[in-house]
Amino acid sequence: MDNNKRKTLNNLTVPLLSVLLGFLIAGFLMLAFGQNPLDGYRALFNGSFGSPFYIGETLRQTAPLIMTALGFAVANIAGFFNIGIAGQALLGWICSVWFALSFPDLPGFLLLPLSMLAGVAAGALWAGIAGFLRAYFGTSEVIVTIMLNYVALDGGNYLIRNVITDSRDASERIPEAANLRMEWLTELTQNSTLHSGIFIALIMAVIMWVLLRKTTLGFEIRSVGMNPNAAKYAGMSAERTIIISMLLSGALAGMGGAMEGLGNFRNIFVQGAVPSLGFDGLAVALLGLSNPFGIVLASLLFGALKIGGTSMPLATGIPIEIVDIIIALIIFFVGANYVIRFFIDRRSRQTAGPAEGHAADQASGTTETLTGTGEKSSSEDEVNH
């Protein structure tokens, strides 16, 4: 019991310290270039939570991030690196808008969910290709999803120019019936772009938590991720689990893209690169340690950084790139958590007596005397994931 408590505390310590260190180092960088970091962070905060409008914008940015991060996390828990989240989200965006524009006469209670579903299906299908090839041909999902990102980008732009519109670069606005925005939300947040996607995203986070922690499928996904051979030996179908987890991953990403299409932009336009939503989702999932609740908190932080960052150049002259640097630094410290744990352990050993210090070591799963056997490094890996 006591061990468990300590473990949760440690798990929380690493992301929190990472966030702190990220802000601290970026602050020094601002100082080095002659800017006042306090002014910068004040502008960042005011630009993300300073008024109902900014809070609305931040929450709007948070919603699709939760979706893409959940998508990345599901695949990651099953042992796959779905770098194609961006392409899957883009297709979800395109297909949801395309569907909404194709059936403008459907009533709202049908059009909105069906458009959403079109985006979800497109994302799932796109990731499913990689899952199928991985399951039955052993093809690296990393390459396949990278390649599919480009196919989605070029093919998507072709669709926008030649099928959805008549050789124009942006589509019409979607019909009002397919709109995710709600009047009371818009009024509450002083005409921000906030839409009901945030509620869907929060519900999906709860559903994913239940699915991963409390169902057989979730157990199978986690088992295959930890050791596919053992999972197979226990009678689970690795192929089935691989495909399902990739379908889920793509479906979540597609839903995130659909939110951009039906809630935020309410149309689709020619893209120069796959949406940054994909890689940001990857970063969010890493900071949230692939835990749905961690992902919600991490998405809120990243949403605030992204939205607040746009106010920084105007208010202080600090380039918006500093936000990406903060994000990169945070993820770096999450990745290099061994170093953070190392110092936490050393501190707790210094303050506590030697016997208790040893207990702290065991709880965190890291010992200073490195044994270097296979077992040791695999338990180390578990801590990392």
């Binding site: 396949v144 480009y150 380039p319 790139e321 958590n337 490195l370 990392n384």
Partner: protein
């Protein structure tokens, strides 16, 4: 346009596009052969591209035609320094290789655009005056048929890349260093017991990937983009990674795959001049390289297995 001119055009533009991919894919091969997955190639290319453009803009007047080449070496050096970050994180600090690589990819464009802003007051640099341009080999270009197609008005960096690929193949498969590097990637504990300095080998692998990736980025910037902006490197690092896996972690295979990708990318540019291809809607030419890669992986290459201990953190025994 006659056949010769079409061939000349297709091959030279294929080589121009493949040069950055060849070098970066070779870099990836070194890193992964030592057991460190390097998703950060994209970010390393960004730093190489950025530093070479800054160098080029600053010294073009003094150095003239040699500028892009020195810029390429500088890009390599900066790439090497930047990859040190990935090396320390993955080798000493036991960071997950993919997380660390992702950080490199997040950090590099942000840092480079931030510095571009500081240096030039805009989010992109001005255009350089000394680019790689076209090269005609003095004697080889006079060989009938082959000469004009392969050696006239072509990309010199691509030929340098091919030469480096051959050298890399020799280093990895025929030298003591290469054997040690590969053994560290396959089974570091066994290598350690035989007296190989595992950490040193891993550092060598990652830093070489930084050097080659940085040079690749510098070529992309100084031969194709001609300036630096956030779009200068747009997925080439990931393409190079795919080329490395496609080439089964063999320098010559990676080079071949990189040339194929370069050819496929150039087709959407040169396709307009080729009679049969001209009639295909351009979207198919754009997506063809990616689809062909997937199909080739599934049906021809099959499973490509990387080094056995690739991506695993090595913890030294005491």
């Amino acid at each position: 346009m006659d056949v010769m001119a079409v061939l000349q055009n297709v091959i030279s533009s294929a080589l121009i596009y493949s040069a950055p991919l060849i070098l970066t894919a070779l870099g990836g091969t070194f890193s992964e052969r030592s057991g460190v997955v390097n998703v950060g190639l994209e970010g390393i290319m960004v730093m190489g591209a950025f530093s070479s453009i800054v160098f080029n803009l600053t010294f073009a007047e003094q150095l003239g035609g040699a500028t892009p080449w020195i810029g390429m070496l500088l890009g390599g050096a900066i790439g090497l320094i930047f990859s040190l970050f990935h090396a320390v994180a993955t080798i000493n600090w036991r960071a997950d290789h993919i997380i660390s690589g992702t950080v490199v990819n997040l950090l590099a464009p942000a840092l480079a655009v931030f510095l571009t802003n500081v240096l030039y007051g805009a989010r992109q640099s001005t255009f350089i005056s000394q680019s790689f341009g076209f090269h005609t080999f003095p004697l080889l270009s006079r060989i009938p048929i082959i000469g004009p197609i392969f050696f006239r008005n072509t990309s010199l960096p691509a030929y340098v890349g091919i030469l480096i690929a051959v050298i890399c193949w020799f280093v990895i498969f025929k030298t003591k260093f290469g054997l040690r590097l590969r053994s560290v990637g396959e089974h570091p504990h066994a290598a350690e017991t035989l007296g190989v300095n595992v950490y040193l080998m891993k550092y060598a692998g990652v830093l070489l990937s930084g050097f080659l990736g940085g040079m690749g980025g510098a070529i992309q910037a100084q031969a194709i983009a001609i300036n630096f902006s956030s779009n200068t490197i747009a997925g080439q690092g990931f393409m190079a990674m795919a080329a490395m896996i496609f080439g089964k972690w063999n320098p010559l295979g990676a080079m071949g795959a990189a040339i194929f990708f370069g050819f496929a990318q150039s087709l959407s540019v040169t396709g307009n001049y080729i009679p049969l291809i001209r009639d295909i809607p351009s979207v198919w030419l754009q997506v063809a390289p990616y689809i062909i890669t997937i199909l080739a992986l599934v049906f021809v290459i099959g499973q490509s297995r990387g080094p056995a201990a690739n991506g695993k953190t090595y913890i030294k025994s005491k």
